[in-house]
Each structure stands twice: as structure tokens, then as C-alpha cells.
Symmetry: C2
Subunit: 197 residues, 2 copies
């Protein structure tokens, strides 16, 4: 009854309904309503004594497959591969349109700089953008342990072998110290130091 | 010279200068200009065969300390602690103002619901918000391996022992399957199922 009231109070908005349940002290119900079922494993790979760390989640359909040795090996290989290559996205669909536009702009300028005539620049850029996408997307990358196959081909072979779908859902890859906020003048100082070399 | 030109072209904006260097094909210089020095290690902890995974970065001042056994033990303990307790932030300063405001609103409603008189609600809420912040912030949490100390106390002891500052910079903690996008009607169906129990 509390849930029905919660949904009514929140005008059918589930977030509001959960908030209403929490306010009423019915957080157990709120938790259950938000719970999601999914199988697979989260695995990690630490490279060169802690200079690079990777966390990856790979989903399977059943917990049975998540405990399969081939599945586990695949997940660990993927974590190691990510540490080695540092992809930016899992798949090509994830590359945002504005990132593609910016890359096109940079490549166009680069190629124009090389003195190529304007009418061939666009064609070259199209080819380079396609190549660039393959380089930065995990599924399109050549597997570091067997460079005859892409990661997606290795995944497909695993799916065929175990008879269940397998999805590389998400990963993070950290390099020690990267992305630490540096104030603009610190970077300007680095550029200055480069000038003086 | 390219760097000076790059900064001039970008009107002193470093991001634009790096973009300019890349366009000119001088990406090696661009990379160097953006490079940041920092020591420490990235470590991970995987719990219960892959149901929970943690990646953590802890910074030290020198690489010498990063290879110290006490430092390494501390980092691994912190990763394990995060897996166990699931903090939301590293420190109290990181809790956003709007998150605090929302929590206050929920707690106020909860306490009012209990029939407490209005003039005591605010006082109780203040106390509960302070307690809540301590619960969700890693540094304030009681260390799972020694609940006489907070994580920050353990960190301070390490700093005193090794004579160098130590910072828990960032972490991620994933539970298998959490946060998978569920369409609203799926959650509504869950709420419906709860109603019918």
C-alpha cells in the first residue's frame, strides 16, 4: 500500500516515489524497488607496481557462466589489454558527435598544413577518422595477446563457446598522477621551460 | 618557438595552445606541456569473486615512499575498506551543497513524521546531518580492520611514520550490475510487484 501511495504522491515519478518512501522511513521498500539484477564479474589489473590500474565489468546472462574459467580468463585478458592500450571508449557508438567534429577539424588542419590540395583533404580525413575510431575503441582494437583478432572477435568466439551473450559493460583506467588539477600558470610554466630547451 | 607561437595563437589559453600544436603535428611537445608529475600507487581490491571491485589511487611525495611496504599495506587496506563500507566521498569537503540540502529535507520530513515538535526538528536534523556526513566520507569512517581509529587517523599515523605526506586522491567502487539503465516502466513494474506481495 505504501508503494501505491508513494507513486501517487510522486505523480508517477519513480525517483520522487523513492524519495517519498525514504521520508516515510520505508527505505527497505525503496531499496528493493530500485534493485537491478545482472550477472558477470568485476575484475582488475594493476600494471608495473601500481603505475596503471584498470577496473572492468563484464556481464553474462547467468551466474553459472560468470564462474566459468574461460569467461574469467577473457575478463582478465580484457583488463590487461586495457592497461596496455588505454582505449577511450568501449565501442564506436559511444564516441560523442562533438568529439568526432573536433578530431575532423584537427586532422583537416594537419593535412592542409602538409600542403595537400583542398579537394583531397576531405577524403583523407574521412579515412583517418574511421582509422582513429578503431584505434580508440576497445572492441575494435587488436587483442594484445593475439593481434590477428580484435577484442570483439575474441568476445564473439567466447559467446559461441559458452552459448551465452557476453557484454563488456564499462571500465576505468587510471595512470598514476594523471589529471591532477594543475592551475593554468603551472602549465604555462611548463610550456615556458620547453621554449628554453 | 612553436610553443611561444602556440600560446600566442591561443591567446594564452593552454588548451587552445595544445590544440594548435596538435594541428601543426607537434603532438610530442603538446604531450610534454600537459604532463604532470605525481608519485604513489594505484591499487585494487576484488571482493567475493567479482561481485564488488575497487580501484584506488593514493599519492605520496616521492617514488621511494611509494615502494615502502607500510605505504603499500595502507593503500591495500584502504581499497579493502572501501569495498566493505562503500563510502560516497573521500572527505567532507566534497559533499555538494545541494546533496546536503536534499538530505536535510528528507531527514526533516522523516522526523516530523515521527510526531516530533517543530522546534526540536531542526536541532535533531543538524546532529543527524553531521553524523550522516561522517558515515558517507571515507576519511571519517572507522577503519574496518581497527574500529578504534578513523581512516584519517590511520593515514596520519602513516605520515608520522614515513615522514612524508600521503593523500587518498580518488577511488571507484563498483557492484556488479548496479546502475544499469532501467527504463522507468521497469522500475514501476517492480513497485507494482511489491504491491502485490
Amino acid at each position: 500500500m505504501d508503494c501505491k501511495k508513494a507513486l501517487a504522491e510522486g505523480d508517477g515519478d519513480v525517483d520522487k516515489a523513492i524519495e517519498y518512501l525514504r521520508k516515510k522511513g520505508l527505505s527497505a521498500a525503496a531499496k528493493k524497488a530500485g534493485r537491478i539484477a545482472s550477472e558477470g564479474i568485476v575484475d582488475s589489473y594493476i600494471h608495473s607496481g601500481g603505475k596503471i590500474g584498470v577496473l572492468v565489468e563484464v556481464n553474462s546472462e547467468t551466474d553459472f557462466v560468470a564462474r566459468n574459467a574461460d569467461f574469467k580468463q577473457f575478463v582478465h585478458d580484457v583488463a590487461m589489454h586495457i592497461a596496455a592500450t588505454g582505449p577511450t571508449y568501449v565501442s564506436r557508438d559511444e564516441v560523442p558527435a562533438d568529439v568526432v567534429a573536433k578530431e575532423k577539424e584537427i586532422l583537416s588542419a594537419q593535412i592542409a598544413e602538409e600542403g595537400k590540395p583542398e579537394h583531397v583533404v576531405e577524403k583523407i580525413v574521412e579515412g583517418q577518422v574511421a582509422k582513429w575510431k578503431k584505434e580508440i575503441c576497445l572492441l575494435d582494437q587488436l587483442f594484445v595477446k593475439d593481434d590477428k583478432k580484435t577484442i570483439d572477435q575474441v568476445r564473439t568466439e567466447l559467446v559461441a563457446k559458452i552459448g551465452e551473450n557476453v557484454t563488456i559493460r564499462r571500465y576505468v583506467r587510471w595512470e598514476l598522477g594523471e589529471g591532477l588539477e594543475k592551475r593554468k600558470y603551472d602549465i604555462a610554466a611548463d610550456v615556458q621551460a620547453l621554449l628554453e630547451q
